[in-house]
Every structure is written in C-alpha cells, then in structure tokens.
C-alpha cells in the first residue's frame, strides 16, 4: 500500500482550525491551573490539619480518576447542577481542576525544597510574613519546580486530545472527522501527529532552557 497525501491540502484548513482549538485549550488550562496549583500547594501546607487532610484527599481523588471520566462529568454532570457549559469551557474547567492538583504537588515539593532556615532568617530580620513568602520563599521554589512544571505542560497539550470525547473540535477530533469521510486515516493521522510533535517540540525547547536556567540557579546555592 502507498500513502497518498493528495487530499491533505483540501483538509488542511480544518486541521489548522483543530490545532487552533488545541492551542487555546492548552493555554487556557496552563494559565488557569497555575494559580490553581499554587492555591492547592498552600492548602497542602496549611497549618490546619483538617484542611491539609481534605486537600490531600481531593488531590488523591482527582489524580486517581481517569481524566476522561472527569471531562465527561463536567460535560454531563454539571448541567444537572444547573451549570450548562459549552464543550470548550466544560473541558477547560475539568482539565484545570485536575491539573491544579498535579501542579499543586509540584509546587508543594518546591516549597518544601526551600530550607526552613530561610524563613527563620527572614523572621529574625523582622520581615513580614507575606513579604517573606513573595520575596524570599517563592523565588527560591522556582528552580526546583520549573522543570516538572514544564514537563506537565506537555501533558496538558497531549491531554487536550481527550476533549474530543465531549465534542470539543480540537485537533484529534478534527482529524477523526476528516478520516471517517476520506477513509484514509493514516495520512491524516500522520499529519495530525506531526502537528502535535511540533507543538510538543516548542514546549520541550522551553523545558531545555528552563532546566539549564534552573541548574545554574541550583548550582549557585
């Protein structure tokens, strides 16, 4: 059998449109789940034991259930609570929720990587708590947290394909809609795979720079 890419130019705009939705979804989740993750991390280290336990349990649940099931729940379950969302916002909501817990774990261990002496030193100097957090602690968590943060960003990108299950017209969905008509899945899938690889490549480049930057920061300590 031979591959025949002659129909690709014709379906190219549809694939690009799908890729656009994929990028939108990735960016939206990345932007929303980052503060979400910080919130989870702070709650994971909260002074109240019950709060820590609650967030730990939620984290375990949201990271233990297949994302597909969560997406599905946002799409079908929320309307019953009176919150009917379009596919894209529903997907953003579901992915943001579970990614916040993944990011939360990363940020929490980043916070734990800062030696307790740092906070003590700041306290001894009389620096107020919130200023200690913003100016002393958080900047020091970045080197430890950045590499896993970016590698999880590629997980978001790859995870967006699941949104096809709730009819979000992202790239994998667009590809499938095309090949069920053309009957030539391989060619379309190869092109879609190449687009995913390209987008991943961008994030991997970022990761390389990030890791280099982090290593320098950490070596300097």
């Amino acid at each position: 059998m031979t591959l025949d890419f002659s129909t690709i130019p014709e379906v190219w705009p549809a694939l690009m449109k799908g890729a656009g939705v994929t990028i939108q979804l990735t960016l939206a989740v990345l932007i929303l789940a980052t503060p979400g993750g910080l919130l989870v991390a702070f709650l994971r280290l909260a002074p109240q034991p019950w709060l820590r336990a609650l967030v730990l349990a939620l984290s375990w649940i949201f990271r233990g259930i297949p994302p597909l099931l969560l997406l599905f729940f946002a799409f079908f379950g929320l309307p019953i609570m009176g919150l009917t969302l379009q596919p894209l916002p529903a997907a953003i909501l579901a992915m943001t929720t579970y990614m916040s817990f993944y990011f939360g774990e990363i940020f929490a261990s980043g916070l734990r990587s800062v030696p307790p002496g740092q906070a003590q030193a700041a306290a001894a100097l009389g620096i107020p708590a919130h200023r200690t957090l913003m100016r002393i602690i958080l900047p020091q968590t970045i080197p430890a947290a950045l590499p896993p943060y970016i590698s999880h960003a590629t997980e978001i990108l790859k995870g967006t394909a699941l949104a096809a299950a709730v009819a979000v017209p992202e790239l994998s969905n667009a590809a499938k809609k095309i090949f069920v008509v053309t009957y030539r899945p391989l060619e379309v899938l190869i092109v879609a795979a190449a687009i995913y690889a390209l987008l991943d490549g961008v994030l991997l480049l970022l990761q390389m720079f990030g890791e280099r930057w982090s290593n320098r920061r950490r070596a300097g300590r």
Partner: protein, 220 residues
C-alpha cells in the same frame, strides 16, 4: 435518585470494570518486559539499535495517547491489519506504556555505578548473571517507585480504550449516564472503582518495597 432506574445498568458497569481490569493487567504484563528490553537496548545495545529505539520512544512520547490508539485502530486496517477493538486498544496502550516505562527503568539503571558492571566483567561473570544478581537488585529499589507511579497512570489510561469502541468501565459509565441522566451515580461508581484499582497498586508497591528492603539489606 431512583434506584430502579440505576439497577439495570449495574451489571453493565461491572462487566465494564472487568474489561478495565483485563486491559490493565494485559497492558502492564506486556509493557513491562518490552520496556525492560528497550531500556537495556538503549543503554547497552549496539549504537544503531540504541539510536533507533531512542527515535521510536521519543516519537511515541510526543504524541497524545489517543492519537496512538487511532493509529492502531483506524490506521491498522489501511495496512490490512484489521483487529478487534480490545486488541487494538491493548497494542496502543502497550506501545505508549512501554515507551514511558522504558524511561523510568533507564532512570533507575543510570543511577547505578558504572563500576559495578566493570567489576562483574573483570570477574568473568556472564552478562545475564551480572544483570540478575548484581545490577537488577541494585536498580530495582530505584525503579519500583517511578514504575508504580507509571503503572497507575497506565491503569487510568486504559479509559482511552472507550474512545475506540471498547466497552470498558468508562464506556459503560458514560453510556449508562447518558441514557439515565444519572451521571453522579455512575461517574461516582466508576471513579471509586478506578481508585480501588490504584489502591491495589499502591498496596502492592508497599509490599514490594518492604520485600526488597528485607531481601537485599541495601546499606547505602
């Protein structure tokens, strides 16, 4: 909540769970030896083999799992490979899992001191013997935690099989919810069952780690 509405779908949910268990076991059992072979090939194999494996592994890791499953399920027939959804899903999930898992295993081996292999060779120990008695026992405690984390990710990942017509737990929960409009019950039930599977793996991990600690009193 109306129990009479829900009850008829419980057997479906159970059979979906059974499919998910089968898929999980099958994926893990097949991916583990393949991943080990890939890891060994990349670290100790001849240069061309190591390169080819690196390209393959990284290509698979760049793609969404769903696209890999589509390749097998929809692309296969175009190459004359027509297979049952379950077979296609297993192949796709094993390919994905083995690629990621081989990286976890290599991570464990790379933490090993190169001198250990040199010492084995200098003593004239056959490679298989060195692997079994010297290298693996030292690498295993390092490999087990990331391996088990990966195993849990793979079990969750079996839910993608529902996207290529496998009637697994996710598929059955989805179907029952959309018919009955009771997503809370079915998604909750399915979620609990997935968490139970993860729980079994976590318990297994604790057992393995204890066993390794006792068997090889690793004093490091």
């Amino acid at each position: 909540m109306d129990y009479t509405l829900i009850a008829p779908y419980l057997p479906d949910l159970l059979s979906g769970f059974w499919i998910t268990v089968q898929l999980s076991v099958l994926t893990l059992v097949l991916a583990t030896p393949i991943a080990t072979a890939i890891a060994l090939g990349r670290d100790l194999g001849p240069r061309p083999l190591a390169r080819a494996l690196a390209v393959l592994v990284n290509a698979v890791r760049l793609l969404p799992a769903l696209i890999v499953l589509y390749f097998v399920f929809y692309g296969g027939p175009q190459l004359g490979l027509r297979m049952k959804p379950m077979t296609a899903a297993t192949i796709g999930l094993v390919a994905m899992g083995a690629a990621y898992m081989s990286e976890d295993i290599r991570g464990g081996f790379s933490a090993l001191d190169r001198g250990q292999l040199a010492a084995c060779r200098a003593l004239g120990l056959p490679f298989g013997h060195a692997l079994r008695r010297v290298l693996l026992p030292q690498a295993l405690p390092l490999i087990v935690p990331p391996y088990m984390t990966r195993a849990i990710i793979m079990v969750k990942g079996t839910s993608l099989a529902s996207m290529v017509s496998v009637a697994d737990l996710t598929a059955e929960a989805t179907r029952a919810s959309s018919i009955t409009y009771q997503p809370y019950v079915f998604v909750l039930l399915a979620g609990v069952l997935y968490l139970a599977l993860s729980g079994v793996l976590v318990a297994f991990q604790a057992w393995v780690e204890r066993h390794l600690r006792l068997r090889y009193r690793l004093a490091r």
